[in-house]
């Protein structure tokens, strides 16, 4: 059934129903603002609480207590007056706060006084030789299948990469009876030393004990190879083996499934298409929006909360969602803000939730050879552009990602740069001896997700149709 938005205009439109979006929409609606929550998935939860109200995995210990915390957020949203629409893909947002959303194959336009973007994170590209082979997928995709359908790998499975999510996924696969043959840990040895100064904050953070017990749980059952410095997937049209170098020794092992993961980065596409200013984050190695302490972006009326504002994890996302919503309430209905927790309290909560983050960011900072490929390794999957192709274009005058589009069409395919953007920026920066900030990123354009011509054609007519202008 298709549900169109009930109004044409709202006080607050929240985009994304992960931790940040759920918290933001509930807070805004509780304060009496007309609130619309638009979310692409079939139910609330985003990635971290995916399928929170529908998962077939009912044994609570298998997905862990952190996962089930999402149920409380959903509860308070449902108790509020927020209007919630799922399977709703926002495909355009601009600085006038006009929003175009596709719901069940029909597009609607709504306008907001404030927009809170809670579009979360994406997995960082992991462009190793053979990463486009069938049989190679991201750990996140595997986790999606696990949460929504209780599907776990049963063939020869290798997990490679680094970061907290990798260990969480491994633990979840094992608890559900899935198979993992080997874990190839790509964490750079030098990172342990670099992270040391931040270790105290980490030791006293909630990540520490949980993370440690999870790694212990996994290491008891699976062979873990650490210090992996090279990685390649091989096979003729289908993955058959994974080869790697650790401690200077190369080894090749047969595999049916390779799960890759080296952390997550903000999903910036919608914010960038609305011309929100972003900066290169040298620690997290990604683009992050420029925000004030309440999450307000460079575009008046657009705030960003959750991992889309810079990776901070689920607990921080919830608090950032509340902060952004409280700021919206202060702006639109100052009297109602008194009902909400004070900003100072929320900021203290955020500081607590972000404790240990610098340690994790430093420890799990991916090494250059896994971010910046060379030779025939594919960079842009949509247009099958290799690292060498990119360097050749730089040699004849492509100075940044937007010029590269003209030479190689990188970033112009259906993924809109989600799978190649960071790689292209860093590769061009390295080739030209510039910083990623100087090189810049693709100028992103709506529709942020493709819509059919038929759907666009079905949008109601406007008076602009009649205006006559010479054709170009």
């Amino acid at each position: 059934m298709t549900v169109a938005p009930k109004r044409e205009a709202y006080d607050v439109v929240v985009i994304g129903a992960g931790p940040a979006g759920l918290a933001a929409a509930a807070t805004s609606a509780e304060a009496g603002l007309t609130t619309l929550l638009l979310d692409e998935n079939i139910g609330p939860g985003g990635q971290v609480f995916r399928a929170i109200s529908s998962t077939p995995v009912t044994e609570r210990s298998q997905l862990g207590a952190d996962y089930w915390a999402g149920a409380d957020l959903v509860q308070s949203l449902r108790a509020s007056s927020a209007e919630v629409i799922h399977r709703a893909t926002v495909w355009s947002l601009d600085r006038n706060l006009d929003i175009a959303v596709s719901i069940g194959g029909a597009s609607a336009f709504v306008r907001a006084k404030r927009v809170i973007l809670a579009t979360g994170a994406l997995e960082r590209p992991f462009p190793i030789p053979g990463w486009t082979l069938p049989g190679v997928m991201t750990a996140g995709a595997a986790q999606t299948m696990l949460k929504s359908s209780a599907l776990v790998p049963d063939g020869r499975t290798v997990i490679a990469g680094q970061g907290p999510l990798l260990w969480l996924l491994a633990a979840q696969i094992l608890r559900l009876g899935g198979r993992i043959d080997r874990i190839l840990d790509t964490t750079e040895r030098g990172n342990y030393l670099a992270a040391l100064p931040h270790a105290f904050a980490f030791l006293t953070s909630p990540y520490f004990t949980k993370g440690l017990s999870m790694m212990r749980e996994v290491k008891a059952k699976v062979r873990v190879v650490s210090g992996v410095t090279e990685l390649a997937a091989t096979g003729d049209g289908q993955l058959t083996s994974v080869s790697y170098v650790a401690g200077g020794k190369r080894e090749t092992i047969p595999a049916d499934l390779l799960l890759l993961h080296q952390g997550v980065v903000p999903n910036v596409n919608l914010a960038m298409s609305a011309d929100v200013e972003h900066r290169w984050d040298d620690l997290q190695l990604c683009w992050s929006p420029v925000l004030d302490a309440s999450g307000n972006s460079s575009v008046p009326g657009i705030a960003i909360a959750g991992d889309g504002a810079g990776i901070g994890g689920a607990n921080a996302a919830v608090v950032r969602g509340r902060i952004a919503a409280r700021a919206a309430v202060e702006a639109l209905a100052a009297a109602a803000a008194a009902k909400l927790p004070a900003m100072a309290t929320l900021r203290a909560d955020l500081a607590k939730a972000e404790r240990g983050r610098v340690f994790l960011d430093t420890l799990f900072r991916p090494s250059p050879q896994f971010r910046i490929p060379s030779g025939d390794t594919i960079v842009c999957r949509c247009e099958e552009v290799t690292a060498k192709d990119v360097l050749d274009s730089v040699a004849i005058g492509a100075t940044g990602p937007n010029q590269l589009k003209a030479y190689r069409r990188t970033g112009m395919g259906p993924c809109q740069g989600r799978l190649c953007g960071l790689t292209v920026t860093e590769l061009m920066a390295q080739a030209r001896g510039k910083t990623p900030q100087e090189i810049g990123y693709y100028r992103l354009r709506a529709p942020v997700k493709p819509i059919t011509l038929a759907e666009l054609a079905a949008v109601p007519k406007s008076e602009a149709d009649i205006k006559a202008v010479v054709r170009g």
Binding site: S92, D94, R95, N96, A100, F109, D275, I396, G397, T399, G400, Q403, K405, A406, Y407, R409, M412, G413, P414, Q416, R443, R445, A446, P447, P450, I451, T452, L453, A454, L456, A457, A458, V459, P460, K461, S462, A464, D465, A468, V469, V470, R471, G472
Partner: protein, 373 residues
């Protein structure tokens, strides 16, 4: 520190780049100044139409001159610019529109122009098999085609640089002034001086002209384009409509570019545009009606480039009516891309020889002299 050169070209669109290149070919050493990078605005993001078809009569000689250069573009630039010549077809959707086409072709023929050719329903169907059956005919310009605009503009810039042009990108021209027979332009900490200044600054050119005492009726516009995912090959020529705002082109990779002049809101000072999706929906409806094969294609991206549009829709091209050594080359009003190569060649002739064989007399800035406004 002032560097003296032969000419200063302000604006790194296809026009500024082409003029810089042709000045180099004539043995001059120009400097090209672009506040962003070559092809950042309309020149790099337009529909890429290489079209003589349906042009205003005053600019047809320039367009024909340009077409000759397009056909040898690879010899000029060492880059094929992805130029393809499959013709451009103007479709009449009914008999009234066809009658307008007939009159237009007759008018051109009387003036001695033969590039536009009236076609009947059979020839239209042969050229564009996918077009709706109700269309009775149209006009074709067979030598026309399309090129990749960003690739083309970049290729002009690169070749100009190879032949000795100095290129300054990323810093705006400022403090433009004339003194003792020389034009002075500051670019950041540098200053260039030359006897010749070419104002090819696109959407920013009107301000330069006004500051130099030659205000003209110009507005900043941002025509929108959108591109689809790949669909099976079904059309070769570029198609435009007689009665509705649509241009339509399928690339060799299968993607289809849909344009036609619906406008976004430009925010010129921020280099930004805000798209008008309700107008783009109108383009989508037109395509939906005319090309049923396109209905399930997806729209992957839409955008708009910022440019200058004159009140009378034809460019300002030629020497200043007030200042010695100043030349204008702007206001191409949504159809400047095809003219770029020829306009650069003619501008170089004006600068070097003081005149040209190509008829441009109706494009001068003097047509906006206060007495004629």
């Amino acid at each position: 520190m002032t560097q003296t050169v032969d000419a200063i070209v302000v604006g790194g669109g296809i026009h500024g780049c082409s003029t810089a290149l042709h000045l180099c070919l004539a043995g001059l050493k120009p400097v090209l100044i672009e506040k962003d990078y070559a092809g950042r605005h309309a020149s790099g993001v337009n529909a890429g139409g290489v079209r003589q078809l349906a042009r205003h009569i005053p600019e047809i000689p320039l367009s024909i001159r340009s077409m000759g250069i397009w056909e040898k573009i690879k010899d000029l630039l060492d880059d094929d610019c992805s130029f393809e010549s499959h013709g451009q077809v103007l479709v009449a959707e009914n008999e009234e529109e066809l009658a307008v086409c007939r009159a237009r072709v007759a008018e051109l023929n009387a003036l001695g122009f033969t590039h536009e050719e009236l076609i009947d329903a059979t020839e239209l169907r042969r050229l564009v098999p996918a077009v709706a059956e109700t269309c009775p005919g149209g006009v074709v310009s067979r030598r026309d085609g399309a090129a990749n605009p960003a690739q083309t503009t970049t290729a002009f810039r690169r070749k100009a640089q190879q032949l000795g042009a100095t290129v300054r990108e990323g810093v705006a021209a400022s403090n433009i002034r004339y003194s003792d027979g020389l034009w002075y332009v500051a670019v950041g900490a540098e200053t260039f001086a030359a006897p010749v200044l070419v104002n090819a600054a696109g959407a920013w050119a009107g301000k330069i002209a006004a500051a130099l005492g030659e205000p003209v009726p110009v507005e900043t516009v941002a025509p929108m384009l959108m591109i689809t995912s790949r669909v099976p090959h079904f059309i070769d020529p570029v198609v435009i409509l007689r009665g509705r705002k649509l241009s339509f082109k399928q690339f060799t990779n299968g993607t289809v570019l849909i344009g036609g002049g619906h406008l976004a809101t430009p925010y010129q000072d921020r280099n930004e545009t805000v798209l008008d999706w309700k107008s783009l929906a109108t383009s989508a409806r037109t395509v939906f009606e005319l090309f049923p094969v396109m209905r399930s294609a997806t729209i992957v991206r839409a955008w708009a480039g910022i440019e200058a549009k004159m009140k009378d829709d034809i460019p300002v091209f030629g020497p200043s009516s007030r200042h010695k050594g100043l030349y204008h080359q702007f206001g191409f009003s949504l159809h400047g891309f095809q003219l770029g190569p020829g306009a650069g060649a003619v501008m170089a002739e004006l600068i070097v020889n003081g005149g040209t064989q190509t008829r441009i007399s109706e494009l001068g800035i003097d047509r906006f002299h206060p007495s004629t406004l």
